[in-house]
Amino acid sequence: MYETVAFYIFSILTLGMFGIVVMSKNALYAMSALAGGMIFISGFFFILDAEFLGVVQIVVYSGAIMALYAFGMMFFDTTRDVSEKMRSKKIAYTLSILSAILIVAILCIPLVSESIEASYPAIENVGNIQMVGLILFTKYLVPFELAAIMLLVAMISGIVLASKKMDEHLAIEEDECEMLKEGK
C-alpha cells in the first residue's frame, strides 16, 4: 500500500521536474528542477531496497554534480533566456516517441523469457550494503579499478586543459615583476 502511494507520488514528481528541465527557458530553473528530480529518483532506489545506491545518488548528484554545474553556470548569463530554434519539430518528436517504445520493448524482453536465473542472488541474513561490498570487491573488482583510472584520467585532462592559460598568466606576472625591479 505505502509502496504504491510512494511510487505514484515519486513518479509524478520526477516526471514533472524533468519536464521542467527540458521545457524551461531559464537555465537556473532548469538546474534547480534537475537537482530536485535527482533527489526524487533516489526515493525510487529506497523503495527498491537499494539503500546504498540511493545514498550515493543524493551525495554524487545533488552534492557534487550540481555544485559543478552551479560553478559552470557562472560563466553563462543566467538572466538571459535560452533561445531554442527548432528546425523540424515533427521529426524530433516522432523519433523520441519511437525510441521510447523501443526502450520499453527492450526492457520487456526479459519478461517474455521464463528461464532467467539470478547469477548473484541475494544471500539471507546479509545486509544490502554488505552484499554490495561482497560483490563489488570480488566479481567486479576490475571494473571498479578501471572506473577509478577513468576518473583519474578525466581529472588530469581537466587540469591540463585549464592550466594552459594559467602558464601565460604566470609568465605575464613574472614579466611585470621584472619590469618593476628594473624600474627601481
Partner: protein, 72 residues
Amino acid sequence: MITLTHYLILTGLLFAIGLVGVMRRTNLLMLFFSTEILLNAVNIGFVAVSKYYGDFTGRMFAFFIMPWQPVK
C-alpha cells in the same frame, strides 16, 4: 501492487523526456542536463530489474554508470 512493468514504463517515459531534451536543446549545458536524465532513467530500470529478479548484477551496473557523470 507495483510490478516490474510499472517501473519499466516509468523508465521509458523518463527516457522519452530526456530524448526530447537532447533533440530540442541547442545550449551545451542544457544538453548535459538532458543526458543526465537519460542516464538516470536507465539507472531506475536496472535497479528495478535487479530487485524483481533478486539479482545484484543490475544494481552493480547502475553503480558503474554513476562515475560517468563527473567524467563528463
